[in-house]
Symmetry: C2
Subunit: 460 residues, 2 copies
Amino acid sequence: MDQHDEKIIDAEESYGLSTRLFDEVLDAIEADDAPAIDAALEPLHAADIADLIEQLNTRDRRALLQLWPNGVDGEILSELDENLRDEVIAQLNPDQLAEAVRDLESDDVVDLVEYLDAPQQEAVLDALDASDRVAVEKALAYPEESAGRLMQVEVAKAPEHWTVGEAIDFLRSDIALPDQFYHLVLVDPRMRPIGQATLGRILSSARATPLKDILEETFITFNVNDDEGDVARAFNQYHLISSPVVDSDDRLVGVITIDDAMIVLDEEHTEDMLRLAGVGENATISDSVFETVKQRFPWLFVNLITVNIAALIVGLFDQTIAAYVALAALMPVVASMGGSAGTQSLTVAVRAIATNDLTASNAWRVIRREMFVGLLNGLVFAVVMGAVGTFGYGSALLGLTLALAMLINLVVAALAGVLVPVVLDKLKLDPALASGTFVTTTTDMVGFFAFLGLATVILL
Amino acid sequence: MDQHDEKIIDAEESYGLSTRLFDEVLDAIEADDAPAIDAALEPLHAADIADLIEQLNTRDRRALLQLWPNGVDGEILSELDENLRDEVIAQLNPDQLAEAVRDLESDDVVDLVEYLDAPQQEAVLDALDASDRVAVEKALAYPEESAGRLMQVEVAKAPEHWTVGEAIDFLRSDIALPDQFYHLVLVDPRMRPIGQATLGRILSSARATPLKDILEETFITFNVNDDEGDVARAFNQYHLISSPVVDSDDRLVGVITIDDAMIVLDEEHTEDMLRLAGVGENATISDSVFETVKQRFPWLFVNLITVNIAALIVGLFDQTIAAYVALAALMPVVASMGGSAGTQSLTVAVRAIATNDLTASNAWRVIRREMFVGLLNGLVFAVVMGAVGTFGYGSALLGLTLALAMLINLVVAALAGVLVPVVLDKLKLDPALASGTFVTTTTDMVGFFAFLGLATVILL
């Protein structure tokens, strides 16, 4: 991958920052060498500078911002992790901040300020022109994570009865156009979007062609209140490049482009992964130790409670264990296999729900399928553990106990793995929300109870 | 979300298929009612039809294809899960197949045939025009999952010395242009791309403006051999819409557009999630029971071996457990808390490596940070479990044992969670590759050994 022109990307890395450049900047910070910092950062893309700022520790970050006071512009602020934006903006004085945000498009300003503290938000809004400020404040009135917040209000549009020639003349006239646009949106007299044509198609059609004849086949509009995650998944499902956004009267109020949708899809994935693992959804490696503990503590605490309940279950069988100590060594085998199988089944189900592949229409079929998968894997591992018990631990009855417990727990694991997210989804909760903890709790408890209970019956 | 024109999307669902429509199709299949199937499916987007085909069971799927013989077109085939394509294509006769693929762009045909069996691939290639066939065969010569396979060969390009006026005249002349394009790529006399201008910018600039003066600021080219995952992440990092692809002589050979990059990014995320859970990377809920068992068995087997080793560790302490049976109940608490904390730390690290936020430059800092997080969480949970041991199980020494083991295992968990993916990445292996199994194995073994070892020293 090469990058020409003004932006340079290091060839050694697949993309982004090189270790060499990072070290150069560190050295320049150490040496208080402002020109060297400028020379190193100036050629970089804003996204890479933001990554670099995120990778520095707090002390170096502060030093960098002091040595490079006019370097941080609106684009870099936009690219920064939300958690760091406050910190960086707090270090800019009002003039620097005004200068930084002035050139951004409305959707980027919204993205920048929506999670800032009230005084910082005010400071940024004060730096905008009156008309931009109105646009941003209007966007902020839409719900968080909605299409209204994601859209840009700058739209290239035309009346529905126009021809290609009229459209070209219009676009080539002196009107203000968005920085980036890919479609001309056709609107009816009441400003309702009725279709859109790509610029490429407009350019390659005869002047007399009505725009209505060259509209794109797939045309989807979003409502300002639509969830941004649904918007992003629709972009991916239907290969949209840009789509109009309408208000409650179906009037055109903005447009969402695929680059923003791609970022949202990326974030949604990350949130799913983090939630599955019981980590706060905005967790990043640039969070402080204290923030990180706060993010992770709650689900560890839930886990602590559930696993102590599992311990009580084990405690019920203390006489069995006292009589047959090998059970203590083998009960984690049954529980752990259940946990692994449950996590497998869970992960596939969470993905399938996110992509609308697992719905009410096929839930029963999928549940049945998982049960068979659990049964088959359970049978194989029952045979293996039966052999381990019989030959490794010298007791055919122990082998039988292991085999039966393994079979039961793998079927339960497969079922729990699909049922937990399906039920959460049915309850309108996030299917990924700490499902992992629920599933492993189930497999721990069932694993211990089945194994030790069977042992009590079979071995004693 | 509304969709007008030819494609209809149900308003009740966020997007995609409704349960009602699904049931309608099922009823029509049951009733052998071909016109009803046609009426139900005809208005749908190809992506939704593919989803529907995926959600049917094998018998219904076969019935549908027989009742709707000319319905499956190239777009639907492109949208189908790879695992199902063979099955569906096998049911089409050569004429139907030829008809289906004829209108696809070269990159879609490549995507369609790359993982087909040789005879099926041959059948599709035979259906193409000679020139399309050459383009597809050339693309298939590039490595799997490379930029060369992802790109389309149809490019809108112009000599570097042209003006806006010349470009517009050229685009409006009778030349063949790609179906969808957003940029005009400028090339030097040796066909090396030197920049690109958006159609919007070209349309809104004066005729005499040299194209060189309105090039996009960020310009990145990819090599045909670049990994498609890196390409997708670069699109997301730099907000690219389309980017040229060059061969080893830096000559323009194709272009990649963001909609394809978005699909790749989505797939990469899914693969990461599935790998973390120890599931085959292409697993979907439409796989058969047998395929699913095959995908999940290997890592369950690895887990079986490691957890049996952990059982041997427990076995070393059988006399301690025999003397103090409560240990058997409490040892899973220590192991499970370690597993949960390790999974949290692992998930954040795997994401950070995927987004280039965790690199050699800051690895030590992140490792140190995780250690502190583990230490802090460990201290809190040590106090809690110390209390549980002292008051719940009536032994202060047991409480002390629990507290120390908990502290040790949470620090180890935090370290393992970040070290396992960092080391895998350093070894050029996928950091997500069954890291979960490695981490929980570590925390199981350390948890059991620390707890039972300390118990032997403190309690006996």
